[in-house]
Amino acid sequence: MARIELTHVTKRWGGFYAVDDLNLVIEDNAFVTLLGPSGCGKTTTLRMIAGLETPTTGRITIDGVTVFDSDAGINVPANKRRVGFLFQNYALWPNMTVYQNIAFGLGNIKEAGISVSEDGEIIRNEKSTEAPRKLTKAEIGRIVERVSKIVKIQPFMDRYPSELSGGQQQRVAIARTLAPGPRVLFMDEPLSNLDAKLRLEMRSELQRLHLSTGSTFVYVTHDQMEAMTLATRICLIANGVLQQYDEPLTVYDRPNNTFVADFVGNPAVNFIEARETAQDGSVTLTMLEGQKFRFTPNEPLNTAAWFDEADREINEFASKQRPVPKANEDKPFNYQIARVNDVSGETAEPGREDWVIGIRPEFVMITPEGSVEGEIFSAMPTGMETTVRIRVGNLLLTSVMFGGVTYPIGQKIRLNFTGNNVMLFSRQNGRLAARGTLEKL
């Protein structure tokens, strides 16, 4: 149905860059989530594509048609973009019944070559030469019936929104959005007002809906779990800048930088600061309060060349011509190191030999043969899995294991870092340098 392309899209209010030079291609039939902390520019991006917000500069095309181009002075208004938008607060019209809410937009369609099949599917013949016409009452009725069946709200057609529960209102909003047959469906945190159980249910329904409608879905959320489970691709944004645009598992396994690594995954990734002492194809590191480790990258790593390339890219982005200086400056992500007692002071400017190791909790394994000594700080079994926090010196590591295991707090244990998916980030620029294995020397 529709491919969306954003080229150098920027939105700023004075010196505040809500979205900064965003390039993004959303493939036809994709389910893309825009993910990021609140205030990062994801909703602005969505509203710009839908036409509810006007970009400062850039170009946006939907289905090959340019809907916005600051250079050419094109700005197709939202109502002519034929898109659907699902609002966070549903935005149902309180003065209309469920039926009227869904049918209201349909009564307004006036197109050439439009027809409605027996089961309520809208058929558009773009090449038709007939005079544009409106839909008949019967046709509208068939469409409303079809979409209300999809979201299972037929019993409530005569009720007013205030007489429905949150979940039912959400379904009505979905039906209303689906009714005119939009090419693209935009959703702005549509599940954030629902309770946890309902959210899970609606999540799976949205996934089914994506399959059955075949539309392109663009979905804004700050909930990384929602993004991981729903999306075909995740677009991570921070401070108005695109951080990573990849498939969910890629984002999880190969995060571009510490921000992405930290934002995606629950429980969060373990960050361990390390200092390089020697390098010979593998990197020798001092970490965890003076213990020595060797990091062996999966692919050969030339750190000098890697730094040069990273610096070049960073400089290129920073030196880009801007009409107004960016007030919300881009800084490397300030990751949190979990400690038993907070330490203050001592923040020397990191150099090229300063690294951060990122290890997902599932790769921190408690085993009697472990090479690192630790002590149980807390243990939280949920039945299906157990999250354990382990104290190593003043540092805390998080480990997740399958099944319910109980540990007495304070118990001495040993642990290993397993697998070849240990991530090595530069402390200087926060970027991922390599993935590999980590072993104690």
Partner: protein, 611 residues
């Protein structure tokens, strides 16, 4: 992807303007901005110009050389008089009225705030008895024509011995003669204005009390704060914004009020204006300019305080039951006390006006002492031919008097058109401003729409009198409607803005996305949702216009509309007629208010001041 996007400031600006104008709310805002600027600023400029224009046949024309058309005579004669007689005149025509106006406004403010504020507190925060009845009757004076209480005051306290003219009720029945300071001048004016605007204070302050989060007071109680301290340190600061806006509104309304000082014989800027208008037109305009300056001053103060006011809006939360103070025995005593005072301000006027129309002669209350049948008459109502005896001055009785009914019809027409225009424009202003919350231009338009509200009525009337005379539309319904519309837009724009602000933008965006045209979005979604506040935006101008005298009296001949006709009969001494018209107006307004309230749930108390 590779095509570079260049940033061209001119193109960006052009695109921005085009995008801005493509939204209906912006185009409407622009048009409204231009219209409101013209209709608000132009008349004001006209008054200022009038102060330096030579008026043939008046004082200034006698003090210039031939052929001169502009003169500073009016200003110098008032502010820098050369002779001692001129100095005395300046005192009489400028400084005394100015002082009286300011004093009157200040006292009216204080009185209204105390009387209305205390009542608001008692009704919303204590277990006072008879709350429902008292609350309804308390706002009667605001619904009734402004001069009602002044006339009642005269009818009660005047006496032939002290004030001359006919004896009032107290003098004729009980033989009590009140001293002169009680009957005319500053004291009765201030009391009557305070009573009139106390209802206003009650509505504004009561609104805050009602919505105030009781938890805030409870939190103080939990911390073992004494009750009086809670009231002074927690409650009072929270209602301060409401008190402030009441002060501003009462001050400007009192300053421009004509009928009350006119009836109770106090020389204020507004009464002096009417006096000077014929022989010293230019100097009269100076008085109007001074009143306008007060209006601007109030707008500036209002502007300064509203930024602080926003800090309090979070207060109106969804707290549950507010705590109620137990007045113990006081709940009965105070209820009786207020029942008596509201009877005087709300019920008595209706009865007195009704009785007045059956008295054989003004002030002849002999029926009370001498039996009903003999000393009452229906002639004021039913006389159907021109007779000059009987004290009718050649007028037909009220039921058959075409002049009255024509004036009544004109008044209804004017009020209806004013309400329609002001309601529509005000609703649009509210809508457009709420859609452009951060825009400077939007707040300019909002201020332009609000300015006439803070301008003393008489100053607005003067401005449109001069403006209208220049355009040659004096004494037309058009001029009356134009003036009324401009003056009453704030009623509608305030209540529309407040309710539109609470409407999430998504509601309309959901319709935009579905390609629903603007017209349909307004009529099918926004207006139905905001029905009740929009109706009160129409209702308030209607009821206010229906009883308006000060604003309209300069703009038409005396027999044109019912309120000026009432004034005319009053001057003639046909008190039975003026009382009858008063009675009709009060009843029409009360019935309409009750009717609209029943039908739509909108009421005057929910809309005034936009809280």
């Amino acid at each position: 992807m590779d095509a570079a996007i260049r940033y061209s400031p001119w193109k960006a600006r052009f695109n921005r303007v085009r995008t801005w104008l493509s939204k209906p709310q912006n185009t409407i805002l622009l048009i409204l901005g231009i219209i409101l600027t013209l209709t608000t600023i132009l008349p004001m400029v006209t008054i200022v110009k009038d102060t330096v224009t030579v008026h043939p046949g008046t004082k200034d024309a006698r003090n210039i050389e031939d052929g001169q058309t502009l003169t500073t005579f009016n200003w110098t004669d008032m502010f820098a008089p050369k002779t001692s007689t001129a100095k005395k005149l300046a005192d009489k025509n400028l400084w005394t009225p100015l002082l009286n106006s300011v004093l009157l406004s200040v006292f009216a403010c204080i009185g209204a705030i105390f009387y209305g504020g205390i009542f608001a507190y008692l009704v919303t925060r204590t277990n006072l008895k008879l709350k429902k009845y008292l609350s309804a009757v308390f706002i009667f004076p605001y619904i009734m024509p402004q001069w009602t209480l002044a006339v009642i005051w005269k009818n009660l306290f005047d006496s032939n011995a002290v004030t001359g003219g006919a004896d009032g009720l107290l003098a004729s029945v009980f033989g009590i003669r009140m001293p002169l300071w009680w009957c005319t001048g500053l004291f009765p004016c201030a009391v009557v204005l305070a009573m009139h605007y106390a209802s206003f204070a009650y509505i504004l302050i009561g609104g805050i009390f009602r919505n105030m989060d009781a938890n805030l007071e409870e939190a103080a109680t939990i911390l073992n704060t004494p009750r009086w301290k809670t009231f002074l340190r927690v409650t009072m600061p929270l209602v301060k914004p409401a008190i402030l806006s009441t002060i501003l509104l009462v001050f400007s309304s009192a300053m421009g009020s004509y009928p009350i000082p006119h009836y109770l014989k106090l020389s204020t800027l507004s009464t002096k204006y009417i006096e000077l208008k014929v022989d010293r037109a230019g100097q009269a305009s100076i008085l109007a300019v001074i009143m306008m300056l007060f209006g601007f001053l109030i707008l500036i103060i209002n502007q300064k305080t509203t930024s602080g006011r926003k800090n309090f809006t979070t207060v109106t939360g969804k707290s549950g039951q507010s705590s109620v103070v137990d007045l113990r025995a006081g709940k009965h005593i105070l209820a009786v006390l207020f029942a008596i005072t509201t009877a005087f301000t709300g019920i008595l006027p209706i009865i007195l006006f009704a009785v007045e129309t059956f008295l054989p002669n003004p002030g002849d209350y002999s029926f009370i002492t001498g039996g009903i049948s003999g000393n009452m008459t229906a002639k004021w109502w039913v006389t159907s031919e021109n007779i000059t005896e009987n004290g009718m001055y050649g007028q037909k009785g009220m039921l058959y008097n075409e002049t009255i009914w024509r004036a009544f019809g004109n008044m209804l027409l004017v009020a209806l058109l004013c309400a329609l225009c002001a309601g529509i424009i005000g609703t649009l202003v509210g809508y457009c401003v709420s859609k452009n919350r951060r825009s400077k231009f939007a707040s300019y338009v909002n201020n332009m729409a609000f300015l006439p509200y803070l301008m003393p009525s008489l100053a607005v009337g003067v401005a449109f009198f001069i403006f209208g005379s220049r355009l040659g539309i004096y004494n037309t319904v058009l001029l009356l409607v134009l003036t009324g519309t401009i003056k009453y837009i704030p009623f509608a724009s305030r209540s529309a803005l407040n309710s539109m602000m609470q409407l999430s933008g998504e509601i309309e965006e959901a319709a935009i996305i579905q390609d629903i045209p603007w017209w349909k979005r307004m009529t099918r979604i926004i207006i139905p949702i905001q029905k009740s506040s929009i109706i009160s935006g129409f209702l308030l101008p209607f009821m206010t216009a229906l009883r308006e005298l000060t604003l309209f009296m300069l703009l038409c001949s005396q027999t044109k509309i019912i309120t000026t006709l009432l004034d005319y009969f009053d001057e003639m001494g046909l008190y039975a007629f003026s009382s009858g018209i008063n009675l009709m107006l009060i009843i029409v307004i009360l019935v309409l208010n009750a009717l609209v309230n029943k039908l739509t749930g909108a009421s005057i108390d929910s809309g005034i001041g936009g809280e």
